[in-house]
């Protein structure tokens, strides 16, 4: 069996195991369904209220993707500035270190008070959570460019753009993809947590209302959706990574 088939089999085994283990936990614990609903109840709720779940999932995904897109745009731009203009890094790093180390759950309520219950606080929270890992990895990747190749480019009188495009960026791609593995899933977590605070839509909002009304079936439904989203994101990044770095497997 190849490594790829073994990996796929692992995922299939996990997907089949989850409802079995879950049902076993329900049966063995004897807990009431309003505390620990079985997979049957949760899947039934998901089926009955699918349009509701779909809508809120869409809202969360939209918030996560917009914040993440901006985080990537700014992280890559600033990483390039750091590498080509080190003085920019000297100036910005103290700010970044402070912002990075303020827990985003503390920032979220401040953003809600300042910006109101628009989508903007959610975008910013997602941005703050995902920006730094992408920035750190892209800077490391751009700086990891082979010095011998850089010398070759210099001798060939390459422009800065040529050096970036032919040497630095290819060197940064593996680092960038590694950042995605963490940050892409992180964007959904950040969007859900941001929705706890103020939103009237999104999976975070569903969690809050389900808790208030003791709807464990909805809570577990959201958990399932979040798990599927996280796993899908991860697999998408793995697929992208394989496509972008397919030369490594040649």
């Amino acid at each position: 069996m190849t490594n790829v088939s073994r990996e796929r089999l692992g995922y299939v085994f996990m997907i089949v195991s989850v409802p079995i283990i879950w049902q076993l936990a329900v049966t063995l614990s004897g807990l009431q369904p309003f505390i620990l609903p079985g997979p049957g109840i949760v899947f039934k709720t998901l089926g009955n209220e699918w349009s509701n779940f779909l809508y809120h999932t869409g809202v969360t995904m939209y918030g996560a993707m917009v914040g993440y897109a901006f985080a990537n745009l700014f992280a890559i731009s600033i990483a390039v500035l750091f590498v080509y203009l080190p003085s920019v890094q000297t100036f910005l790093m103290p700010w970044f270190i402070v912002i990075k180390n303020i827990p985003f759950v503390v920032i979220a309520p401040i953003l809600v008070i300042t910006l109101g219950t628009t989508n903007m606080p959610k975008f910013i929270v997602v941005f703050l959570v995902t920006f730094f890992p992408v920035l750190a990895n892209v800077v490391a990747g751009l700086r990891a460019a082979d010095q011998v190749l850089l010398d070759r480019m210099h001798v060939l009188n390459a422009t800065r753009w040529q050096i970036f495009w032919k040497v630095r960026w290819p060197s940064a791609i593996p680092y960038y993809m590694a950042a995605h593995e963490v940050a892409f899933t992180g964007s959904i977590i950040a969007a859900i947590v941001a929705e706890f605070f103020f939103s009237r839509t999104g999976l975070g909002y569903l969690i809050v209302t389900a808790m208030e009304s003791y709807r464990a079936d909805i809570l577990y439904g959201v958990t399932l959706i979040a798990a599927v989203l996280g796993l899908s994101n991860y697999l998408l990044v793995v697929w992208l990574r394989k496509r972008l770095l397919r030369w490594q497997d040649a």
């Binding site: 190749l149 009188n157 290819p170």
Partner: protein, 250 residues
């Protein structure tokens, strides 16, 4: 006719350390010079000056009657480092083509034709990690020569190869340069390699880096591997070795 490369009282200091001191050397057009000497004697530093990768603390360098910087801008320099300066995500052909893309030089040489000539016709679409060390170095040399520069600088190009591959590569390089004559400077630790390839061997002494002796090598070309079995070759190697011992003992 004025020399192709002229070093006049070239000196270079790194802080308190004199890496090079009052180097005077004329290299004729089409001549092959090997720089040899103990570690830290400034061989690579000297080469980097000719490539305009370093700026002299004192003295003058003229390459083709011009400054190295201007010669570099005119794409008249080719460089081969010990480690192949190849982009890992590009095939052999793309790596050689890259030189033409960057320099924009039009030459009768084509990347595919050169790779064929170098015995790598079947490996054009291979990535560097799929090639042996010797093959990588041949791609590297093709990439350094495809824009047909009149000056070729080589910094221990075969240093990472095994003995037999080194021998093959020496013969191969000698043949290539016989067909495409260039003014060549080779930095090497190998006396055999220097005697096999060079018209003159420049022996450098360390602390500060300076020329200790120059040995003429007048074996006819092409020089085949079996030259090494001849007593004249052995005597020349011995002569260089003795001079190197003197340098180290001084």
């Amino acid at each position: 006719m004025s020399p192709a490369i002229q070093l006049r009282q070239l000196s270079k200091s790194f802080g308190e350390i004199d890496a090079l001191k009052d180097i005077d050397l004329d290299i004729q057009e089409g001549e092959f010079i090997a720089l040899i000497g103990p570690s830290g004697c400034g061989k690579t530093t000297l080469l980097r000056h000719v490539l305009s990768l370093e700026t002299a603390s004192a003295g003058e360098i003229l390459v083709g009657g011009d400054t190295p910087e201007r010669v570099r801008r005119e794409n008249k320099l080719g460089i081969v480092f010990q480690r192949a300066a190849l982009v890992p995500s590009c095939t052999s052909l793309q790596n050689v083509q890259m030189t033409l893309d960057i320099t924009g030089v039009e030459t009768p040489l084509t990347p595919a034709g050169l790779l064929d000539e170098f015995g790598l016709g079947a490996f054009k679409d291979h990535y560097p990690h799929q090639l042996s060390g010797g093959m990588q170095q041949r791609v590297n040399i093709a990439a350094a020569m495809v824009h047909n520069p009149p000056f070729l600088m080589m910094d221990e190009p075969f240093g990472a190869l095994d003995e037999m591959t080194r021998e093959f590569m020496c013969e191969f390089l000698g043949g290539v340069l016989l067909d495409n004559p260039k003014t060549t400077v080779l930095v090497t630790h190998s006396i055999d390699e220097a005697v096999m390839l060079a018209d003159r061997i420049v022996i450098l002494a360390p602390r500060p880096g300076r020329i200790s002796a120059i040995v003429d090598v007048d074996f006819p070309r092409p020089r085949r591997r079996d030259l090494k079995t001849q007593s004249a070759f052995g005597e020349k190697v011995l002569e260089v070795r003795r001079l190197l011992y003197e340098v180290e003992e001084a």
